[in-house]
């Protein structure tokens, strides 16, 4: 147990070091003034940018991958669940608690964040369970196309609902963690917010791994994903198991929604589409069905996106993301950590 933990940590640190080196190379390549100090501080700043962006994609990508893993559905509505999560967080922090900006007192900040996560995540989890119950479960044995189209439909419903009932215009969200509170490293001044986002994302991932890997319900989820009938023969109620999967995936999407608002400071009913698309790409990149792969993919997307900015091609960020996806899929059709269909059987 401890050895596995240490190994995982070592691999994670190694990955981050590689990411940092790549970022450094990219900054060096793009910079006109190639003073080592300047490059180091710029690379450090961009590295933390990538961690924060990647942290959000990780939280979303995991939901895609879990749902695909258990019912082989690409849940197109997942990005919009994130969007709803962002709005719920906005309502709680702004409308109910009355915050418009940063909270200076660290204890108070911690309390407010705790409230945000503890309310938003279960609420969004329930939304996910509801979507599964009413939109997907009735189609469980229908041909593949039916639930897929339904997922697109659910996506539109969530979109239109927020657009019509809440607002169609962009909404400024309270950035509870001040962007001015920063720390210095390698000459770069990094907002604590970025570190918080990455740590929240990592922490939730670790909790998920523990749950899926070590608990009875987690085992039931993995069994159901591999062989639904056999799982039933073990006494597993697959309806419950699938509902739990949706609950967890959507709760993580809720967390992503909170973090999105804190990071970008502005939300709109359309954000789900873009976040969803990139996170879905992350899930495919890492190997759909594999949660660790989704985390790896999410982090990579964050790095690619920031790299696009670094090399002066911010408008090409989507194209670059997909170019990398295509290259990876050509070499490994089932994604970086994916198992091929033959192995799955």
């Amino acid at each position: 147990m401890l050895r596995r933990l240490l190994r995982t940590a070592a691999i994670g640190v190694a990955l981050l070091v590689v990411g940092f080196a790549l970022m450094y190379a990219m900054v060096w390549f793009a910079a006109i003034d190639k003073t080592p100090d300047k490059i180091l501080s710029l690379a450090t700043a961009q590295f933390f940018n990538a961690l924060a962006a990647g942290g959000i994609y990780i939280l979303v990508a995991v939901g895609y991958t879990m749902v695909y893993g258990i019912i082989e559905l690409i849940n197109f509505a997942h990005g919009d669940v994130v969007m709803v999560g962002a709005f719920v967080a906005y309502f709680i922090s702004f409308k109910f608690l009355g915050y418009t900006g940063a909270i200076a007192d660290p204890l108070l900040l911690l309390g407010v964040l705790a409230i945000l996560f503890l309310i938003t995540m279960p609420l969004l989890g329930l939304l996910g369970v509801g979507i599964e119950r009413f939109a997907y479960r009735p189609l469980r044995n229908a041909p593949r196309l039916a639930p897929l189209i339904t997922a697109i439909g659910v996506s539109f419903i969530l979109n239109n609902f927020v657009q019509a009932v809440v607002t169609a215009s962009p909404v400024p969200t309270p950035q509870l963690i001040s962007l001015q509170s920063r720390f210095l490293v390698f000459g770069a001044s990094i907002p604590w917010l970025y570190v918080v986002i990455f740590i929240v994302s990592l922490g939730l991932m670790a909790a998920l791994q523990l749950f899926v890997g070590r608990t009875r319900l987690g085992r039931a989820m993995r069994s159901t994903a591999q062989d639904r009938e056999a799982a039933q023969l073990m006494g597993v109620d697959i309806n419950t198991t699938i509902a739990v999967t949706f609950f967890i995936g959507s709760a993580l999407a809720g967390a992503a929604g909170i973090v999105y608002g804190l990071y970008y400071g502005q939300i709109q009913f359309t954000i789900g589409f873009f976040v969803g698309l990139k996170a879905f790409t992350a899930a495919v990149l890492g190997g759909i069905g594999n949660t660790v792969g989704a985390a790896l993919g999410g982090l990579m997307i964050g790095f690619i996106e920031v790299s696009a900015v670094v090399v002066g091609l911010p408008r090409w960020s989507e194209a670059l993301v997909f170019a990398v996806l295509i290259i990876v899929l050509v070499m490994r059709p089932s994604g970086l950590l994916g198992v091929s269909t033959a192995e799955r059987a």
């Binding site: 056999a230 023969l233 597993v236």
Partner: protein, 243 residues
């Protein structure tokens, strides 16, 4: 009520009709299994043996007819509830969870039981199948075919079933392993578990079973004691490779 064998009836199928969508697989199966018995289901490919087991374990519900287990109508009870009721099913093709470890596969078998009971059952299973003991940490999918079959049977035993359904447990095993599996089946039965056994290997099945049924295209064609079936000319021709 008693079976032809004189023991108390545990499982009864009454004129069971079952379909896969529009395809009819069972056309009125009537049979019973007595407590403590080993009953075997014989029949050629596509006769409906697997389907019969599925209607018992709840993976498939009869469109008409009735399945009764220990006096209770279970025709419409979902599979996951029947495990707790006492029915274990080692399905056709083993269906072990290949990406779960051997231990996790066995833990899944004990899904409906509490933790303290599990320890005891685990001991019992690894005593029956010592090979599994050495491989508890290995992924299920990396076991050999024979080991996977042991795991499938062991996993079904982990729920402490009173009725164990075995679908072709000897398929694809070497002759020595086939012998082993059949002696284990006898042992499980001697420990008090009733067994409904589907087999291609009719000769072997009839040596361990008390009674048997022969299915043909979804109907019971013949039923007799194991000795009676083994002596039956039609059975010998069709399943024991004599002409």
């Amino acid at each position: 009520m008693t079976t032809g064998n004189g023991s108390e009836v545990m499982l009864r199928l009454d004129n069971v009709h079952a379909y896969y969508g529009r395809i009819q697989a069972l056309k009125g199966i009537t049979m019973e299994v007595g407590k403590q018995e080993i009953v075997t289901l014989l029949g050629s490919n596509g006769a409906g043996k697997t389907t019969t087991l599925k209607t018992v374990s709840g993976l498939l519900h009869p469109r008409s007819g009735k399945v009764t287990f220990e006096g209770r109508d279970i025709s419409k009870v979902p599979a996951h509830k029947l495990v707790k009721a006492g029915i274990g099913h080692a399905p056709e093709g083993r269906r072990i969870f290949s990406r779960l470890s051997v231990l996790e596969n066995l833990q899944m078998g004990a899904y409906t039981r509490n933790h303290s009971e599990m320890r005891e059952d685990l001991d019992r299973v690894v005593t029956l199948f010592p090979r599994l003991q050495e491989r508890l940490k290995q992924a299920g999918g990396t076991l050999s075919g024979g080991e996977q079959q042991m795991l499938a049977i062991g996993r079904a035993l982990m729920s402490r079933p009173r009725l164990l359904l075995l679908d072709e447990p000897s398929l694809g095993l070497s002759p020595i392993l086939v012998q082993q599996i059949f002696s284990i089946i006898k042992e499980i039965n001697a420990q008090g578990t009733t067994i409904l056994l589907v087999e291609q290997n009719a000769l072997q099945a009839l040596t361990v079973a008390h009674r048997g049924y022969v299915l043909q295209t979804g109907l019971v064609n013949l039923s007799d004691t194991a000795a009676g079936l083994a002596a039956n000319e039609g059975v010998r021709k069709a399943y024991l490779g004599e002409d």
